[in-house]
Amino acid sequence: MGNAKKQKLNLTDKSMSKITSLADLKKKREELKSGLDIRTKALDPENIVQVKVAMATCGIASGAKTVMEFFLEQLDRRNIAAVVTQTGCMGYCYAEPTIEVKLPGQDPVVFGFVDLKRADQIIEKYIKTGELVDGIIPVNYQIIDLKE
């Protein structure tokens, strides 16, 4: 895919060590959880924005790749500290490409029909000023929590 390279702060870049016991795995999980926090907190939490782009085959076919590249490039160019990652299918086929934006301290918002024009609006309006733009997809499901 090559996208891994483009991701900022990709945690798998660290050298991989073997996980040899369940205790190891649990330790790893806790590390990663706080690790995810570190990657946001270390860079001034007030200014870190998280963008996830739905990149399943169908999303890519509707232009998600271009949208992801746009975010990577433009957030950088516009000096907005952000993490842009890819993710799988969100299930909203009718509204591809879809992205999720999480502003610090707020619930994530999913936007559908994200072409470059809308991507630009999202950066300029939602990410910069918190003003919502068209294309919001209300989340209407719940996810299980695997905690034992």
Partner: protein, 597 residues
Amino acid sequence: MSKYSMHLLVCGGTGCHASESDAIVCNLRDELEAKGLMDSVQVIMTGCFGFCEKGPIVKVMPDNTFYVQVKPEDAQTIVEEHVIKGRKVTRLLYKDPVTKESVSDSKHMGFFKKQLRIVLRNCGFINPENIDEYIARDGYQALGKVLMEMTPEQVIKEVKDSGQRGRGGAGFSTGLKWELARKNQSDEKYVVCNADEGDPGAFMDRSVLEGDPHSVLEAMAICGFSIGASNGLIYIRAEYPLAIERLKIAINQAREYGLLGNNIFGTGFNFDIKLRYGAGAFVCGEETALIHSMEGLRGEPTVKPPFPAEAGYLGKPTNVNNVETFAAIPAIILKGAKWFSSIGTEKSKGTKVFALAGKINNVGLIEVPMGTTLREVIFEIGGGIRNGKKFKGIQTGGPSGGCLSEKHLDTPIDFDNLIAAGSIMGSGAMIVLDEDDCMVSMAKFFLEFTVEESCGKCAPCRIGNKRLHELLGQICEGKGTLADLDRLKNMSVVIKDTALCGLGQTSPNPVLSMMDNYYDEYVAHVTNKKCPAGQCKSLMEYIINPDNCVGCTACARVCPVNAITGERKEVHLINPAICIKCGACMEKCKFDAIFIS
């Protein structure tokens, strides 16, 4: 950083739009303007909430207040009470149908529990190419638990007790399948993941593999431990290049962490997974055909027994499960059989992923507990029928399934109810049909697929389906008779009873169920030579209404086959013997004088 302290989200889905959500937006904005609040409160129209039944919806953020059945004139109250005074407008709140109490926070509304994501728990949330994100969301914990704390028998019992049934379509108990594979002694056994997703309109397996590949790898290792296998194979069609790519990345990452390979978690358990590519033949989704294809033989099914659990891949005991089946296993292990079996109906436990397609507004992938009704799926989650048309039917289970009609809308979806209604669960494809769809043409369409995909090994499937298809073609052309309808039915039953494998045994399902539910439409085709939905070209007739025709000659000039005759300023006439039913005349006519009978 946000200059807005409050957002009013107004549903702009088709249903709410039809009930004046536009006007609500305008009124809210006017009210805010009048009160000088435009800079701190933003009104925005959103996509469908799926709660069309109680629309129009207005949701207030950040406090998650959910107003239902809002009218444009309620805008003033919402702004004056909620926005300015911070008091919720009780009369507009959703009332719980059971407790009759107002629910102010949308997170506590039963409606939002309609979709429950177990299989899709990580899809669209984690980066599928990063194993760390999977681990951070409790990934591989289930494998750890199984290897360190459980015996194979305990794992199998847990899976059995969960009541999970195979999501590939047949609905066989997963735990029982594992138990059978465990019982057969052999020096080598295999765990196979069936990722040969072939139903037109089904894409849940691809989505899981592309969005959460590790969940499948983890489950395969758990299965390997349970049945005593150290080799896993994923049979995936080459048409899924991205899923293959992500699986490869996932397998490599898991190996690097030691979560696949030798001596996993230091327990001495070895398990590794390899990929096997299929060429995309539908029949290779059948487990014996799949195994033959992996062995390098022709992808043809063989008679069971012997079942793969006895003699499968390379003659060794083999357990084949579908992608979706595997993806739920880590959740079952971590949260327990009791939890899983508390979801769903008496004999179908857990959730099912459905791919919604066809004439439905919110085409997409959903996951609901078993027992959810078709009505809830289509009208509440799916947002209803496109363009305000009337619902006619829903084809469940792809070309192997049946078409259910309006009378089945309130049937709770589970394996047994769908069979009782004349369809099957199948892989979970759902194709919604509206009033414009002809049920004879639809049956013909699905058979076209099975005729194409039949491997040709057994006569009922190879020849029988071909004859069925021909008969349906004749009926569409107006050359069918009442006796043909009986022949259709008889032949379908014989094919079902005598075909070798699941493909042939289910291929007449669309014909049988459509004849059952829409018999009048079939009769109309053969006796009146009419297609009520207006789809069968041969049965349509373009007619000029003499009352409206002014003799402008526009239709005669546009007709490509000169089928229209008539003098200027006199009523024109279409010769049905010449007419090719292209519809050009009707499009051209400015006086609505041409209609289809």
